[in-house]
């Protein structure tokens, strides 16, 4: 009895004991759920397993910009199409949301009353209306565009209708490889020029026009090369044939609705993060840099933003994660993302609900962890370096 009491009055033992207990109960709970599920599946004669992944899908997916998809392809390919579509809308959405969010966040702090009010209204409106409604709103607006036969025409090559935005598609011919190589070389050398210029400035104080040099290298030289090689690029124009336009590039209203809704919604949150970040930099910093005679744009770019970023980046990461996860709402407008294609149609046609959901969940987990991983690296690179 006495020794027993002693054990429990030992703080270390107690903590280990309870932690083991909790982990044990948790594991037991999981085990119980898995067992029950397996038991019930078997009792209801629901076949399980992964074999369905190699069965032909039997249905078509039209929105697959990266992989050609036919109804004879497998469910596994449905999965890859879904992943690519999810990544497409997530990545483009994150980029747009970041740009818009930074702009709105900075404008919100502007001394111009009208501009700052407008951003205030925008933020409060989009933040407080459910995303699903916004997606459906955008889609409803987009399908009210003119019908395909009455498409709006811009410059005879762009067509806008409720089937999407059609534009000419560039076709690269053999000579284009050289231009491509030139652009890559230019990008690499710009990077080194920037490093060299920075070092030089630290040593001598002289500045070097990095921006103009890089611009020249990346755009002007390849452009000159393009004409020297005799314009090795042609366009495929969209053409009305039968029911639809054939050829050209098309951006579907389902994608546009998702892209707009996701980026506009998330940008509202990002703008608040940016505003908080900028406000976290003390007023003295701004005053001191003004006293040094720096231009307004320099103060923002060189003094305020680098310090604000330390506050902005961690919540920014979680906004990226939110946007990616929110892209699963694509089903509301028929956007063939991972949840709609594989987690919806395949699940339903094969009836393998648990298998499909496990795969979909694992995929979102992987995407989210990857985003976190890179954002954490970036976050570390912008933290204060203690010397």
């Amino acid at each position: 009895m006495r020794s027993n009491l002693n054990f429990f009055s030992d703080e270390r033992f107690r903590s280990i004991f309870f932690q083991t207990l909790v982990v044990g109960l948790f594991a037991l709970g999981i085990f119980f759920i898995v067992q029950t599920t397996a038991y019930n599946l078997e009792k209801r004669n629901i076949a399980t397993g992964w074999r369905f992944l190699s069965d032909p899908a039997g249905f078509d997916i039209s929105f697959s910009p990266f992989l050609e998809f036919k109804s004879t392809d497998t469910h596994l390919k449905v999965y890859f199409v879904g992943v690519l579509n999810t990544l497409l809308v997530s990545i483009t959405g994150c980029i747009a949301a970041t740009i818009l969010g930074f702009l709105v966040g900075i404008i919100r702090l502007s001394s111009n009353w009208l501009l700052s009010r407008i951003s205030y209204i925008y933020v409060e409106f989009t933040r407080n209306v459910p995303l699903l409604l916004q997606i459906i709103l955008w889609y409803s607006i987009l399908i009210q565009l003119p019908r395909v036969k009455q498409s709006l025409q811009i410059l005879d090559v762009f067509y806008i209708s409720n089937r999407g935005l059609y534009s000419p598609r560039p076709i690269f011919e053999s000579g284009f490889t050289y231009i491509f190589i030139a652009i890559i070389l230019a990008l690499i050398s710009s990077f080194f020029i920037r490093r060299w210029a920075k070092k030089r400035q630290e040593l001598t104080g002289d500045q070097y026009p990095v921006f103009y040099t890089s611009f020249g290298l990346i755009f002007i030289i390849p452009l000159i090369l393009f004409f020297i090689l005799g314009s090795p690029m042609s366009f495929e124009y969209p053409e009305m044939k039968g029911f639809n336009f054939k050829g050209g590039l098309v951006i579907r209203p389902e994608f546009i609705a998702m892209f707009l809704a996701l980026s506009i919604y998330t940008a509202a949150f990002i703008s608040e993060t940016v505003r908080a970040g900028i406000l976290s930099v003390t007023k003295g910093q701004r005053e001191a840099s003004a006293a040094l005679g720096l231009k307004q744009s320099w103060i923002m770019r060189l003094i305020i933003i680098p310090q604000a970023l330390r506050v902005i980046v961690p919540p920014l990461t979680s906004q990226y994660l939110n946007l990616t996860k929110n892209s699963s709402l694509g089903i509301a407008v028929g956007y063939a993302d991972l949840v709609h294609g594989f987690g919806g149609i395949s699940l339903n046609q094969t009836g393998q609900a648990i298998e499909c959901m496990v795969i979909v969940m694992a995929t979102y987990l992987t995407i989210s962890l990857t985003i976190s991983f890179f954002m954490n690296i970036y976050n570390r690179s912008i933290q204060f370096k203690e010397k």
């Binding site: 029950t36 399908i143 029911f243 919806g344 009836g351």
Partner: protein, 334 residues
């Protein structure tokens, strides 16, 4: 807490000595019936908010068989996608939801189709202004299609077989399909011909739409239950058969009381005057009488919900009795 409760529910369900669905329904006091999210003529709330339609009648018939009361039903809406998990998990006792009887659903998904209450086939509906007269002229068209249905697979097969291309626009519910078709986002809407008639009837100007002549598939639609509970399966199966047999025998909701004194033996067996068929099914002796009295026979239900006098204007066609040129046929009541 809710999560915890549902885990307990699952566990309790798994380990309880498995009571049959019929007992569960009786103990609960009402039937849970899975229906569509709204398809006029089959299952949709009417002007007074009551569920009405051919499938809704099917649910009510089972409720009448069990309780003798057509109001003892809770209608639970399911989408094309949610219907099977809803049934498999026991959230509903049966589905009467325009569901096509296929081998994979019957065998692999662990369900049991108990009969067919509507013989359908997949068709195409397009604006008449497009001037298309056959589905084979649809090369390049954008097609609205409900995901998770057999029609989705038939569509892919049909276009592949005919060597023509199309763009699928996957949508979730019939309403979304309607909206996209009417806005011109898609050229064609494809689903079961009955569903097309229902959609066409809902258009502001039905004459602007045509249903193409091609019927590209067999779609026997019928009620289904979970596999393995044969007693419950029998109750649902014979509730449907009773309505069909009643039509065959000319018993209607109006003359059913007079028919109690009929001299036709099968009528007497059906109405529970002779034999003990109710007892075999663990139902009241007059279960079939009550179905006919409160719901009507198959023909009455058909004419009231989808027949030529309704906005859907679907002729009996395949759904006529076998004696009248159709294929509707119920096993004998003996």
């Amino acid at each position: 807490m809710k999560k915890l409760l549902s885990i307990f529910a699952v566990v309790a369900f798994a380990f309880s000595a498995h009571a049959g669905t019929l007992d569960d329904v009786k103990n609960r006091g009402f039937l849970k019936c899975g229906v569509t999210t709204g398809l006029a003529g089959f299952a949709a709330p009417d002007d007074s908010g009551e569920w009405a339609g051919l499938d809704a009648d099917m649910c009510r018939a089972v409720a009448v068989a069990v309780f003798g009361d057509r109001s003892k039903v809770e209608f639970i809406t399911t989408t094309g996608k949610s219907r099977f998990p809803t049934l498999a998990s026991g959230e509903v006792d049966m589905l009467a939801r325009n569901t096509t009887w296929t081998i994979s659903r019957d065998v692999n998904l662990g369900f049991e189709f108990v009969g067919v209450n509507f013989y359908d086939g997949q068709g195409f509906m397009i604006p008449s202004a497009l001037g298309v007269s056959s589905a084979t002229e649809l090369d390049g068209a954008t097609v609205c299609i409900q995901t998770g249905t057999t029609t989705e697979l038939n569509l892919a097969d049909f276009f592949r077989l005919n060597g023509i291309s199309y763009e699928a626009l996957p949508i979730e519910t019939n309403d979304e399909g309607k909206e996209n078709l009417f806005a011109g986002r898609c050229d064609v809407y494809t689903t079961d011909a009955s569903g097309l008639s229902s959609t066409r009837a809902a258009a502001s100007n039905p004459d602007k739409w045509v249903v193409l002549p091609e019927i590209i598939s067999k779609e026997p639609l019928g009620p289904l239950v979970r596999h393995g509970d044969h007693q419950w399966g029998d109750v649902v199966r014979w509730s449907l058969n009773a309505m069909i047999i009643a039509e065959e025998l000319g018993v209607t909701s109006e003359n059913v009381d007079a028919q109690l004194g009929s001299n036709v033996p099968e009528v007497l067996r059906l109405l529970g005057v002779e034999g003990s068929y109710g007892e075999m099914l663990e139902l009241a002796p007059d279960w079939a009488y009550q179905i006919i009295k409160q719901i009507g026979n198959y023909s009455e239900s058909y004419e009231a919900n989808v027949g030529p006098d309704t906005p859907l204007e679907i002729a009996r066609g395949l759904n006529a009795l076998w004696t009248q040129g159709g294929i509707l046929y119920a096993p004998p009541f003996r």
